[in-house]
C-alpha cells in the first residue's frame, strides 16, 4: 500500500477530487498548506515597510491506495492539477506498512 501526497494549487482541489472519484478512489484527506518553491518569492510593502511573500497557498492531498492503483492515481492527479504554469506542485509516494479503518478495524486493502 502506498501513501500518495500531492501539493497542488488551491483552485484545482475540486477538479482533482472529481477526477480521482471518477477513477474509483473513495477516500482522501486534504489540508491547507503554504508552499515555497520556484513560484512566489515576491516582495510586497505593507505600511511602507517591505516584506517577502515566499509562501503561496497550496492544498495538500493525501491518499492511501493499493500498490496497483498508484500509477493511475498519480496520473490522474497530474492531469487534473496541471495548468502548465510554474507552481503546479508535486506528488510524492511513500510506502505504507499498515492501514486500518477505525470504525471496523479492517486492515489493508479492505480498509481503503
Amino acid at each position: 500500500m502506498k501513501l500518495i501526497t500531492a501539493v497542488i494549487k488551491p483552485f484545482k482541489v475540486d477538479d482533482v477530487k472529481d477526477a480521482l472519484k471518477a477513477t474509483g478512489i473513495v477516500g482522501m484527506t486534504v489540508g491547507e498548506v503554504r508552499g515555497f518553491g520556484r513560484q512566489g518569492g515576491h516582495t510586497e510593502t505593507y505600511r511602507g515597510a517591505e516584506y517577502k511573500i515566499d509562501f503561496v497557498p497550496k492544498v495538500q492531498i493525501e491518499l492511501v491506495v493499493d500498490d496497483g492503483a498508484v500509477d493511475s492515481a498519480v496520473d490522474t492527479i497530474k492531469a487534473a492539477a496541471s495548468t502548465g504554469k510554474i507552481g503546479d506542485g508535486k506528488i510524492w509516494v511513500v510506502s505504507v506498512d499498515r492501514l486500518i479503518r477505525i470504525r471496523t478495524g479492517e486492515e489493508g486493502a479492505e480498509a481503503i
Partner: protein, 484 residues
Amino acid sequence: MRKHAALKYALGGLVGAALPALLVTGSAFAAEVDPIVALGEATNLLWVVIGAVLVVFMQAGFALVETGFTQRKNAAEVMSTNFAIFGLGFVGFLFIGFPLAFGGFSYSAFGLATPMNGDGLPAVGGDMTGLLYWGYDHLGSAASPALLGFFLYMVAFMDTVATIPTGSMAERWKWRSFVIWGLFCGAFYYPLFAAWTWGGGWLAKSWDTMDLGAGYVDFAGSGVVHAVGGAAALAGAIVLGPRIGKFGPDGKPRAIPGHNIPMAMLGCFVLLFGWFGFNAASTFAVTDIQFATVAANTAIAAAVGAVIAMYYITFRTGKPDPGMMVNGMLAGLVAITAPCAFVSPWAAAAIGAIAAVLAIESVLFIERRGVDDPVGAIAVHGVCGTFGVLAVGLFANGVYGAGWNGAVDNAGEAIAVKGLFYGEVGQLGAQALGAIVIWTVIFGFAFGFFKIQNKLTKGGIRSTEDDETSGLDIPEMGVAAYAD
C-alpha cells in the same frame, strides 16, 4: 475657556440673541424660565449627550483598528486593552481627573477662575473650596443633568487619549503595567493640558498675556486629545522599544502585516461615524448651527484624506495599501478636529490632503528612526494632531468664533479667529505655542511616567520575550482570540 464655559454660553443662550442666558437649574424647568430658552437648553443638552454617546462608540473603532493591524497571536490581548481602557480611564477621571480639571480644586492650579458649583456651572463669585466639597458634587444628589452631560462628554474625550498609546505600544506591553497607564491617564495625564486650554488655563489666556490671536484655539481637540495622546504613544513606544523581529539585523524595518484587514477597516468606519459626535457636538449647542459646517468639514477632510492617501501610497510603493488608506482617513479626521469650525470647506479638503501625506511620510520616518508603532498611532494622532493645531493658525477664515476664549482687543471688540492665509499671524503663534508645550512638557510628562514605571516594575513594563514570541493571549488573558 470654551469647554467649561460652553455650559453657560451654549446651554444657556444663543436661542435668539435677544434672550438672556438662563441657567438650567434642575431636572424640571422652573415656571419662571422662558419656555423657549428651556426648550433650547434641553435640545442643546441632548446634542451634547448624543455627541458623547458617539464618542464613546469610538472606543470600538480604536479597538478594531488596533486589533486588526496587529498579529493574530495577540488579538485577544490588544482587543482587551482597548476594552479595559474605557473603564480604567473613566474611573481615574470620575474620581480624580474631572474634579481636578473642573472642580473646586482646580481653579487656582489649573486655571478656572471659579469652581464649578453643584449645577455644573461656574459659580458666580464662588469661595475658595476644596476637592472634597465642590469637587465631588458631580457624584452626589445635587449633580444636575447638565453637569453630568458635560462630564459624559469630557470623559469620552479623555478615553480617546487613553486608548491611543495602546496602539503604539501593542504586542509587547504587560497587562499590569497597561492598567496603571489607564488610571493615570484619566486621573492626571489628560486633565493637565485640558485644563490649560479648555479649562481656561494659561494657554487659553495667551491672547491676553502674550497677545496671541484669540489664544490657543482647538475646537474639538486635534491638540488637546490627539496630539496629547500621540505624545504619550511616542513616549511609550520609545520606552518599550520595538517588537522582536521588527527590525532586521541590518536595522531595516520589516513589515509585520496586521492579521485582519477588514476588521481594521470596519474600525475606521466606526471612527468616522463617532467623529461626527467628537467634532460636531463640540458646539455644545444645537442652537449654534455651526455644527452643520463642522460635520461637513469633518466628512470632507476624511474623504479627501482617504483618497489622497490611496494615491500617494500607490505613488510611493505601487499599491493602494489598505493600512495607509485607513491611516489617511484618520489623518484627515485628526487634523480637521481643531480647525473644523473655523475653516471653509476648501480648506478642509486641503487639510485632509496634507494630513494624509503627512501621516504616510511620518509612518515611514518614525519607523526609520527605530521606533516601532504597529498601527501608526504616533503619525496619525501625534503628527497630524499637531498639524491640525497649526492649521487653525493657517486656514481659519475669521467667520466663526470671534471672542473665543473671551478674547477682546483693547477696544473691547471680540477678536476673530483668523489664520495666516487670512492675514493674521498672532493666531498661528498661539497655536505654535500649544504645539510646543505638547511636545515638550506633556511629552515629558508621559515619558517620565513610563520611564519611572518601567524602573519601578519588576522586570519592566515590557512583556517577557517568551510571552511576546508565543503571543500574549494565553499568558496574559488566559484565552486565545480565536479558539480552534
